[in-house]
Symmetry: D2
Subunit: 352 residues, 4 copies
């Protein structure tokens, strides 16, 4: 931490600040400058409450220096974390680019299977679908719950897709942990620390979405909450932040991808569907996300968006998903990464 004194601070004031620092069990380092004196502080393990110092006489401002995160940091773990899925060659964070696709909500077994078949055949290692929907209105469709989880478990068996779905509370977490392969924590719950800790006690990977107004530090600290409980398999996800801009539902902040990669070893994927909220912008921003260097995309696809019970306006048509896959594959290649090819769907399955 650094204390910046006012230009006209007296030697007595500087002395008093140094003594206060020592009383906190820390070591002050006065740096007399041309305009003013700054006082460096060393010896602190964690964060210091600036309140102890900021209001002392002669103090202009107090600047926090050491960052609070530990386990998420590259300073603790240099090499990239790669999330692996036993029994498959699907990974997140490695050379292979991850494609996570599916409907916003699981509405019916038929709808879920129809979309799953489309995305599996177009190329996706992961299937996303909402069983529990955090909706702004209590009167809107809230999801099918466990029934949806069972449908997705069937989809895993039939199409070999890993299941990614959101847990909105501790109760849902138990069921998601039971049926799914990746536990998603939504943007609205990014600072629901109770839920983060519970997810940290599970052993399945956690996909953590960035809060709508989360700074990079808060985002990484939310991951730190999960890791501090022993679950080191965290996948970060940029899904757009809230700004004054009104031409998209959120403003997709792609610059956080290299920023995260500089500070942390955790993989990061991008959600261009929620990041834009408009179907006609999902493909361009999806391409951009691949180009910026993220580890995967999570996109909403629906075979009949016009009939979707939620987020229809941002869901891709299957043929649009195929286009995105093709363009993503070519752009990923420029960065030396590979995008999964579609699997062969047998007649038997196709006829279902």
């Amino acid at each position: 931490m650094l204390v910046v004194m006012k230009a006209q601070a007296t030697p007595e004031e500087i002395q008093a600040v140094c003594e206060q620092i020592e009383q906190l069990g820390l070591r002050p380092h006065p740096l007399p400058g041309a305009q003013r004196t700054a006082i460096g502080i060393t010896g602190n393990q964690g964060e210091i409450d600036r309140g102890n110092i900021e209001d002392l006489s002669g103090v202009a401002e107090v600047i926090q220096v050491s960052k609070p995160y530990k386990l998420v940091s590259r300073e603790v773990k240099e090499e990239d974390t790669i999330i692996r899925f036993p029994g498959t060659n699907a990974t997140i964070g490695g050379r292979d680019f991850a494609m996570i696709a599916g409907p916003c909500s699981i509405e019916t077994r038929e709808q879920a299977f129809a979309v799953a078949e489309e995305v599996a055949s177009a190329g996706a290692q992961f299937f996303r679908g909402g069983a529990y929907k955090p909706r702004t209105s209590p009167y809107a469709f809230q999801g099918l719950g466990e029934e949806a989880l069972k449908i997705m478990a069937e989809i895993r068996d039939k199409f070999g897709l890993r299941i990614v779905t959101e847990a909105i509370d501790n109760e849902a977490l138990e069921l998601v942990d039971k049926y799914a392969d990746v536990i998603q924590i939504g943007a609205r719950n990014m600072q629901n620390y109770s839920l983060l800790k519970a997810a940290g006690r599970k052993r399945k990977p956690v996909l953590l979405k960035r809060g709508i107004a989360a700074t990079l530090e808060e985002f990484l600290m939310a991951a730190e909450y999960i890791m501090s409980e022993g679950n080191y398999q965290v996948i970060l996800c940029e899904r757009g932040v809230r700004t004054f801009a009104d031409h998209t539902r959120n403003t997709l902040d792609l610059s956080i991808v290299p920023a995260v990669q500089r500070l942390s070893h955790l993989p990061i994927v991008v959600d261009p569907s929620h990041g834009t909220g408009k179907r006609n912008k999902v493909i361009p921003l999806g391409r951009a996300a691949v180009a910026v260097g993220c580890d995967g995309l999570i996109v909403e696809v629906h075979h009949q968006p016009d009939k979707a019970l939620s987020d229809g306006m941002q869901s891709l048509y299957p043929e649009q998903y195929v286009q995105l896959m093709n363009e993503a594959a070519q752009i990923a290649a420029v960065l030396g990464r590979t995008v999964p090819r579609g699997i062969q769907i047998t007649e038997g399955i196709a006829s279902r």
Copy 2:
């Protein structure tokens, strides 16, 4: 809902949009204008998914019209809601201005009693203190939990102050409901719908803090979640929002007070402590909050801020709280409201 067609939209395109609207069981009203045609939609009960229409050929944009909230709305209940506390004459939302004061966290019995005595004697009907602290870092002080709740229950008995404290999850909610008088839902949990619904099933008043990036509509919808479960005693709380401005921790948005009062019958209080994050700004913004016409203030007070385990830098010294009370009382009078006088503390208590 209103559909705005492009200037060069053809009659066929307009016709197609009208048919799609009818297929949704709604009634289209084409409005041929000078520049373009707009199509009004009536007959919808709830929200319509714009996705169904926005991508039709010839459509320029789709504008949502009817607001989704019901129970929170003045259109449903015209007169102001006043929260009453049996066995006391304390109210929130009526002519009396409510003062809620106390430390950020309950640290020890001594600290809690010392602050309680200060605020009770200076004038406060409510005591706030954190038992469960949602901290950005998992390594920071997380609160004393039930022990803190027991201390606050004692404070209610001794000083006659009603207790306001935060519930961070369902487990904490049960305990807060058992010991406290007002259940606080923090800003980070404003869209933790599972927690909102659980609070809605309690019978104690809920103080709902605005999320750091919540729009007025999202804020009111969070209250709607609580009310939709049957608990109509909701107190809204503005505590600052996140903006680009870096001279305060958050930007206190006082304009939401008259905005809420126009749309809703619920009371709204303001938190200038979190709203600014800096002690030297709490009094000026506290005065401003009274002047804008809110129903109460919730402020952090600590008898030894320099030793506070959390938020020390934004806690008022007891003498500053007295100053705020005095200025608030004079400003409230201008608006025809009364601020509570301090209670007499007997020697007996004072000597503790």
Copy 3:
């Protein structure tokens, strides 16, 4: 400036950074800490380009310390600046609270005189009116130009009101300087440095509006531009900033008032009309601005808002202005300040 090294930075890397700092003619002060080493820098007169250091091997981040402003700073001038107007007892920044009122635009001589009479009789020392309007659309009413300035000069003579009006470019600046008493620089031009410098070469006070997304530092640096040319009579004006919040046109950031007062000796006034954009919020926020401790209000008043050529929706009716004056006077008194009483308008004038 402070350089924060990575935890695993080598002694060689730390050494290399120190050498680079010395090459820049500055003095490095390594501070070995528990987690990492930080390097304080002294000897710089102005700002240092972080680019020189941030990308050196082993550097985690670079933190700017010394603030760039000089003339605006309290460190240079301790006591408050009070703007005086020769031949009147009107001041801005002193004990007297300043009321600046008038229509958004000067539309006709009749309209201007009608509004001027209303605000003069209700109590105002300053008349505001747009001669040059910066409108978002090139097709919207752009103001009457010099004709409006002449009308306002007449208003000064008749009602003894000082004239405040905006200069949108150097050409308009010459005319505004000729006819008006205070040169207003609008929010859109807060970083139009060419215009700021030109205003700095004038000898009339300048009312500088905060840019819609200006930080406190940028705001003060814009004032520094004016002062650096020799004009020290600068009045700052908060008029709302752009945020995600959509219930008002802008979000009025009242916390900047105490923040400015802490750093600078310049007076600061508040514009609740543009700050909210809605008539029904001007009075509550106007009251709040007085309570927060600003030096004056600038408000839009129109005798027939429904017929206003611009900003009608945020203009007060004369009777609303009277109410605001009365409430402002009572609240200002709480802060030990006085609000001007209305002047007596003779029949003679009233009949014009």
Copy 4:
């Protein structure tokens, strides 16, 4: 425009609103809905001031419908605008992707030539360099002015690069128009309407940077100002907006590219240098900008960034620019666009 009445609005109130609309010379269309009545308005040519209606009794809100822009709109001109440069095959907005590169500021003839040679040989059709620098501090380097313009004119002759440089005021505009090929209007001046109109009276293409907090509508309206004066050669430029996010200097909003392309026929380029403010993020975001489908990149390159007089920390090293060119070329190819190859620099020139 659409007027939304309150649910309990009376027939008389609805009638009164309709009459007010008719008094404004417009036509009201009442739409009785399930919950409330909405009133559509037709007959308006330009924008209507909502103030006339919003405060009438029974009105819940007023919604603006018709967009104010004309000349920038695809509704007026369907096909993409392509900017051509006589005597070259350089274009902006067509199939060829435009690369605009150079130093932040022109510091010396040697520096400018050194950078120009690098970018010309790596592949660029345009050279950018600041002659007039809008700096936050009046004490910072402000640019060489006309001397810099003369140096750039030489660079055009020697390397065949078209010159792009900023005009900060009308005076500078005359000189920029005389020496350069593209007149740049900076973000700080995006709403300096006086300057926009003056640029609109020139016949050279104008590169208009998005203001730091400009909405899509304001951005397009600024272009409308230029076009309304007769200059239809406008190039839009996204350069990052201001948000709460603190890991980059600005938040690059790539979603505005498809948003602009949907509404307007004007070309749009992206500036990843100012958009991120950090060298290590320029290449990833530059790649993303190409992938999102913009028409060109404008990047800062310096042969000795550590010695740059401005923005050194965001300037690419020449070899980094070569890498960006190569990656941009491959990604552009995926979108069916071509990126210019580097020109051959003769020994003669290279030896300079």
